[in-house]
Amino acid sequence: MVAQTVIAGEGDEAVLPHPTARLYGETLEKLPLDLYIPPDALEVFLDAFQGPLDLLLYLIRKANVDILDIPMAPLTAQYLAYVDAMRTHRLELAAEYLLMAAMLLEIKSRMLLPRPPRESGEDVEDPRAELVRRLIEYEQMKAAALALDGIPRIQREHEWVGVQVAERLAEIQPDVSATDLQLAWLALMRRADMTRHHKVSREALSVREFMSGILRRLQEEGDLRFDQLFERNPTAAHMVVNFLAVLELARENLIELLQLEAFAPIYVRTARNDTADVVAEPG
C-alpha cells in the first residue's frame, strides 16, 4: 500500500516487513469495540471530517484514551481500516489521508524499537510527540472556531444602524491651486510637444481675460458702441490690453466691428453667420 512505500523512503527508520498482515492481526486483538463504525455509514461519516487530524481526534475521543498517551497500535489500525474503506468506496482520497497513514505507521514502528539512550543522557523524545502536538493544536483551533461562531455578529444577531442624512451633504469640492493649473498645462505641453505653438505670455493672458470679458458683456448687454467697451478701463494699460483684446477677438472672428459710414460710431457685436461679409478685416 501507499503508506508502506512512503515509509520505505524514510531511510534510517525501520520498515515494517508486512504491515498489512500485522495490521489486521492487531486490529482484531486490541481494537476497542466502541471505535467501530459500520461500513455502510462510512461515506456519510467521512463527510463530517475536515481531514485526517479531525478523523484521528474523533477516534481518540471516541476511544476515550489519553491524548498524551495514545495507544498507537490500535489507533493506527483503526485509522488504516478507515483509509482502506475509503479507498475501496471512493476513487479519490485526499493525499493528506495517505500521508497521515504513513506518519502513523512510522510512529508505531519507532515505538516498537528499543530506544537507545542518547549520549547526553537526556530523555529521548516520544515518537508520538509531534503528532500529539498537532492534534492538540488542531483541537484547540476547532474549539476556537466554535467559540468564534458563537460570538453574536453583524448580519446574524445585529444590524448596523445608519439613518439617512437629510440633505445631501454639501458636496466636498476639490481644491485647485494656480500651481495645479500650471502643472496641468505643463503636462499637456509635454504630451503634445506643443511648446513651440502655444507660447502665451503674461500680457497675452491679460488679453485673453479681456477677450472673455468683452464676449460676456456682449452676451449680457447686447451690441455695444466701440467706446462703451473702454469706459470701464481705469488705466491706460487697461485700455491698451482691452484694445488688443478687441483686435484679437476680431481676428478670431468672435466679434464683428460695424461702421455704417465713415466717422459714424463703430458698433461691436458678437459674430453672426449671416453678416460674415461685414466682419472687420482680420488683423
Partner: protein
Amino acid sequence: MSELPETTQPTSSPSPADIKRVLEAALLASQDALGTADLRKLFEQDLDHALLRRLLDELREEWSGRGIELVQVASGWRFRTTADMQPYLDRMRNEKPAKYSRAVLETLAIIAYRQPVTRGDIEDIRGVAVSPGIIKALEGRGWIDSVGYREVPGRPALYATTRRFLDDLGLRTLAELPPLAELQKVMEFNDAR
C-alpha cells in the same frame, strides 16, 4: 455571547410598546424608507393597520425635537437627520478634499490660459475627446461659463473662466496665473533632470 436567546419566539401577541420598539429599531436600521407593507412583515401576527399608523405617529411625536426625525416620504417611513444637524455633520465630514482628475485640470488649464475656447479647441489641444461631464462639473462649480458662440457650423459655445474662479483661486486677475514663460523654465528644468 452565550446568554443571548437563540431565536426569540414571539409566542403571545406583542404589546403595543413592544411593537413600537421593533418598528423603531427596524426603521433606524434601514437605509431606505419602509412602507407599511414592509413594516407589517416584521411581525408574525397580523398587525392592525390603524394600530400601525397610530404607533408610527407616536414614534414621530417621541422623536420630535431630537437630531433625527421620523418622516413619511413617498415610498414610506424613514428616519433622517434634521436640518439643524447639517452644519455639525458637514464639519465632521469636510475632512478629505477630493481631487480633480487630470482631464478636469487640463481642461480647466486650457480654458484659463486660452480663453475663450470651444470644446473643439480643448480637444485639439488635449488630443482626446472632452466629455460633457467635465464641462458640466466646471460649470457646476461656477468656475467657467459660456460667453458666446463661435460662428462656425454647430455654433459651439465659447468657454471662459469666471470671476468666481479667480476668487476661489485667490487671484485678482488671470495675469496672476503662473505665466507660461516660467512654465517654460520649469519644463526645461524638468527636462534637464
